[in-house]
Symmetry: C2
Amino acid sequence: MNRITKLFGIQYPVIQGGMIWCSGWELASAVSNAGGLGLIGSGSMNPDILREHIQKCRKATSKPFGVNIPLIFSHAEEFINIVVDEKVPVVFTSAGNPAKYTSHLKETGIKVVHVIANKKSAIKCQDSGVDAIVAEGFEAGGHNGREETTTMVLIPMITQAVDIPVIAAGGIATGKAMFAAMALGAEGVQIGSRFVATHESSAHKNFKDMVLQAGDGDTLLTLKSLIAVRLLKNNFFNRVFEKEKAGALPEEMLKILGEGRSKLGMFDGDTDEGELEIGQVSAIINEQKSASEVINEIINEFNDTKEILKNTGF
Amino acid sequence: MNRITKLFGIQYPVIQGGMIWCSGWELASAVSNAGGLGLIGSGSMNPDILREHIQKCRKATSKPFGVNIPLIFSHAEEFINIVVDEKVPVVFTSAGNPAKYTSHLKETGIKVVHVIANKKSAIKCQDSGVDAIVAEGFEAGGHNGREETTTMVLIPMITQAVDIPVIAAGGIATGKAMFAAMALGAEGVQIGSRFVATHESSAHKNFKDMVLQAGDGDTLLTLKSLIAVRLLKNNFFNRVFEKEKAGALPEEMLKILGEGRSKLGMFDGDTDEGELEIGQVSAIINEQKSASEVINEIINEFNDTKEILKNTGF
């Protein structure tokens, strides 16, 4: 037990990150049933779809689960109304001002967590009354902070700066890494990439296969002139990378990006021309498993690591 | 005791990174006297200066110490002859082919370690017979790998790929981070930035002061079109950054860089126009201390972290 397991009423402080196109009710409920906290990633949904996923998730698990809402998203306000209406126990907000909806959500009894990547935002989160923070390092998949601070540096920096519990994200797919994150001061971990490559994830098979095959150096933070995002290297990535290196302006980059790239890649399975968001840690993810196998392996390895390190003394 | 302390004959598996302009005999001997392994950074020395530093280091400590030799450096071969001649117990090579001098050095009884930032190089190192590897993550100061793999991801990847002991570098300045690195599979840590801000470092006071003041997001990996290097943000950095963003070619970048930038910044103390190499972890380094205070604090915090985590179970 620690502050994170108590806060959410869960067995293990392992949160499955809410990811666009990959984490619907099937994945979220499977993670919650296995003792972690599953999150529905609402960033790729419309209001009707989100409501459907919440209702299906509730039927599939009696355990707590949550919804991730990116606040810059056009549907954000409507989504906030839906999670309140549906009495979702936990909401993770990201990409926006944590002060905007936190008091409203908390008044209705919802636990609120906000995702940050730097110290200033962490302090702002604490001031706005969130229950916990996700501190996400540079190695994480998808959108990412301008400071490029890695998990190894970010977690001690954030845990020094705030008193509320900190959940580490970025580069974590194993029990060893979970143990490392807790040594750095985190009280929980948010894991994305490892859950993309599970049976219950709604990622397209082609995308899952690419994640399993990805190795050292196969992702890179790109699109820094718009919003920095970590992508798997493919044709689309290469085009973006070369253009950006040649000094293309944001408006040119927007044109290349176009619309629906992430759906094309992650959900429809066009791994050449789609946008494939995944973390660096995909380099050590080599096998598709069920969400409960993933959770059990992580917890077992966490406990093994603790035993091994008990005897390390200088 | 572990494979790293045995290999070098030292008390703590804490290696002070060999850094240009910052780590001469005073710092190296202070670290070795405190139970770690001090390294003379030869990359900013000429042959006579290197020999002088080795001889002074030997007078200042009876404990093992080493020399770091960047193999792309013009004096590399001469430096190899000097360390053999002076019977330096340990040599760390970096930035070049580990196969080139390893057998020669090992035949004379010298322990050889090579610094890498990706899996392919790690395997090449093991094949070339080095005694250990430093795996250095993206968050580290100075020159850095093209893959941008962070310590959190790199260490498990490298320890899975090789059997020889792995020393973690990048983002490590505290006992918590040392414990985290060992949870990830490392058997030792190499620490740079924390030792720049010690009394015994030969960094200019102005540079040390900037390191102590540095915060979140104050360093960035830049000069990617030449050799990627992590720098503290200053006037010089800003000029380089803007030029690179605008798509400048390598030859233009070389012209802006000019010569002697790192000496100007780190040794002569021109913190506006000099090149200031430091790691992200400078964000949590706030006080100048002696090398032995740093080592003692790290080991105490390592042991405290172990005690705290003993009671963390799920």
